[in-house]
């Protein structure tokens, strides 16, 4: 069947099996060249193997929870949204959540996802206690910080290329309410936005939305959104008695692929302009529910259809602290110049990086969506070059088109990873991405 990543970019014909038990999983793996696929939320070709894509959604059982330690044991196909649905009412929340809760735990580990609290708590890695991995021969290995630590650390952020993640244990954080106190600062340019991040490093959550259609003096103008788990006392009176119970948002479904002409530089500029001023003019300090705060896009199922049938591409890089301002300025200039403004342009301060293959590094990360057009095709290589010049690296979970040479130049760890995989006999796992990037 034809499958693609969340970006709907270049669907590939792939053999997909959906084993329901370990015997069926072993049988699927014996055919070689396998890659695990979770809920299909990585944007490009990370979870596609033309010969052997193994859907892990059948492994969706929770195994146990220890309320003393907050450690949840579960199969890899359990969704982060299931974890929240089950545990928020009992006062627990994932330590790290990315921009969508519709991802599997296995996918969260393979991508080592990061969230708005990276500068304080680190990436998903920080919550992982152990991982059960199935090798190409069907043998099961449990790895952790103590047992085969090399395998453990490479698996987190290893894009599924170290084996099939079957089960894991993750640590949840205790919370007192399902609400977030959000403070929005309107920053007039990039420097103001970065200053706001640096001044608020002790805030648990921070992220900025950038109006990347803005040019000149307004380049990088943003809404910096800071957040913290609200105490029950701060909530509106009607939520005092049951602060963990948040009313469900109504879900909308994006009904069809939007025709390509609707999203054009003018409509995107208009959206960005209005969104900035709406944010700048509404009250700065307000209480929002966890779902709207962490996962605004999950309210619209299939929002990716917004970009039409040709799909879209994400560009996400991380730049080291000392070169971030210069690099971000150049990237935003190049983007604004082409008129290829994106509406989902997100800036985030990263804390120190960890792990031998994980994406985050101390500095800043910028993520932008672009419709799959010729202009985007011209722009992205320019952004790649700027990233390289400023010692940055790329987020593989968002990548669908990076050339191997650029990937390896940006991140020498890839070569080490490839060598290590061969030495451990793990090169039998492969995705379209690992073949494209020679991982």
């Amino acid at each position: 069947m034809k499958i693609s990543g969340w970006g709907n970019f270049e669907a590939q014909e792939a053999r997909v099996t959906a084993p329901k038990d370990e015997a069926a999983l072993s049988a699927a793996l014996s055919k070689g060249q396998a890659i695990a696929r979770g809920n299909g939320r990585s944007y490009g070709d990370s979870a596609i193997s033309k010969r052997n894509t193994v859907s892990m959604l059948g492994f969706n059982k929770m195994i146990g929870f220890d309320p003393e330690t907050g450690i949840l044991e579960a199969e890899a196909g359990v969704l982060l949204s299931d974890v929240i649905d089950s545990f928020l009412p009992r006062g627990w929340f994932p330590l790290v959540t990315p921009g969508t809760r519709l991802i599997t735990l296995g996918g969260a580990i393979a991508s080592d996802v990061h969230g708005k609290n990276h500068h304080v708590d680190g990436s998903f890695r920080a919550s992982v206690e152990w991982i059960d991995l199935v090798g190409a021969d069907g043998a099961l290995v449990r790895c952790s910080r103590d047992a085969d630590p090399e395998l453990f650390h490479y698996t987190i952020g290893g894009m599924g290329l170290t084996g099939i993640i079957l089960r894991c244990a993750i640590r949840l954080r205790p919370v007192r309410s399902g609400w977030i106190r959000q403070i929005t600062h309107a920053a007039k340019d990039l420097k103001a936005a970065m200053t706001c991040f640096e001044d608020n490093l002790d805030r648990p959550y921070s992220v900025a939305w950038i109006d990347c259609a803005a040019k000149g003096e307004r380049l990088g103008r943003s809404l910096v959104m800071l957040g913290d788990h609200a105490n029950p006392g701060e909530l509106p009176a009607r939520y005092h008695t049951d602060p963990l119970n948040v009313p469900k948002r109504t879900k909308r479904t994006f009904p069809f692929h939007l025709p390509n002409f609707v999203l054009n530089p003018f409509s995107v500029r208009a959206f960005n302009y209005l969104y900035y001023w709406k944010g700048a003019l509404t009250p700065k300090d307000r209480i929002v529910d966890w779902d709207s705060y962490f996962f605004p896009l999950d309210a619209i199922r299939h929002w990716n259809k917004l970009y039409g049938k040709r799909g879209f591409l994400q560009f996400q890089c991380a730049l080291p602290l000392d070169k971030a301002e210069a690099g971000l300025t150049k990237i935003l200039e190049a983007t604004a110049e082409t008129g290829q403004a994106s509406f989902l342009c997100v800036l985030k301060r990263f804390g120190p990086g960890a792990g031998p293959m994980s994406f985050p590094m101390e500095g800043y990360t910028l993520a932008m969506d672009f419709p799959n057009t010729e202009a985007t095709g011209d722009l992205l290589p320019r952004l790649d070059a700027i990233t390289l010049e400023h010692s940055g690296r790329f987020y593989l979970t968002k990548d669908a088109r990076l050339p191997a040479s650029i990937a390896h130049q940006s991140d020498p760890r890839m070569e080490e990873f490839a060598t290590w995989r061969r030495a451990r006999g793990l090169d039998q796992f492969a995705s379209s991405q690992s073949e494209r990037l020679i991982l």
């Binding site: 929770m62 195994i63 949840l72 299931d82 089950s86 009992r90």
Partner: protein, 244 residues
């Protein structure tokens, strides 16, 4: 304290989905099936997700001589009992071999009907409770391609109707669930029309709502009510020449 929901034939996809819906609403769950130890992982999953108590009970629907003993041994008489017991078999084999046909008849009629009959006595004596039988639209009219399975379901549907009639004055409610196509491992590999095919989770939700609202007969998806009304009303002289 909330009394439990008993799920009979707990290994099926529909049964599992139903267990999830009731557990999510806070009901303790009793899972009953053959070789029930293999449902340990389901028990752990339900307990971890919903913080409810789940117990496992060995149960063979066609071993009717053990039914009474099975109910006696439950740690607590459930408030609601759902039977998802069923077995489609291979129709060609059922036509050729009487023993194969008898297995289908027993698993879809005798077993599920008589266990609900057994439970109904206890519920009636207690003066409350809900019994849910998952039958099938296949029982609404016999067709050449599945009349052995269909006739067993027809028997089960008639049994449920009679049971509901008898228990109405005892404050015990009976729900008849008539699924059309359901996307389960029983139908895996079959080419089913999307608009008429329900997911097991949909069935679980529909059963929960039917219990809450004391509905008598529900079709899932509801379009099946219309489809089956048309099929039931085709004159026999025409119907016998059709292949549907």
């Amino acid at each position: 304290m909330t009394e439990p929901v008993l799920i009979l034939g707990a290994r099926s996809d529909i049964a599992r989905a139903t267990a999830h819906v009731f557990a999510a609403k806070g009901y303790p769950i009793q899972l009953a099936a053959r070789n029930v130890a293999s449902l340990e992982a389901d028990k752990a999953d339900l307990e971890t997700r919903y913080g409810v108590t789940v117990t496992l009970h060995e149960f063979d629907a066609v071993a009717i001589e053990d039914h009474s003993h099975f109910v006696d041994n439950l740690p607590e008489l459930p408030q609601i009992a759902v039977t998802a017991v069923g077995f489609m078999g291979d129709h060609d084999e059922s036509m050729r071999h009487p023993l194969a046909a008898a297995r289908v008849l027993r698993a879809n009629f005798e077993g599920p009907a008589l266990i609900l009959g057994e439970l109904s006595e206890r519920f009636a004596a207690r003066k409350y409770g809900t019994l849910v039988g998952i039958s099938s639209v296949a029982g609404d009219r016999g067709r050449a391609t599945n009349y052995i399975y269909g006739s067993a379901k027809a028997g089960f549907t008639a049994f449920l109707s009679g049971l509901r009639n008898r228990l109405a004055k005892e404050n015990v409610h009976v729900v008849t669930v008539l699924p059309g196509f359901v996307n389960t491992s029983m139908t895996e590999g079959m080419d089913l029309p999307g608009k008429l095919t329900a997911e097991p989770e949909e069935l679980g939700e529909a059963i929960y709502k039917a219990v809450e609202k004391s509905r008598n007969i529900i079709y899932v998806r509801p379009i099946w009510w219309l489809v089956m009304m048309i099929i039931r009303n085709i004159p026999e002289a025409i119907f016998k020449k059709m292949s549907i």
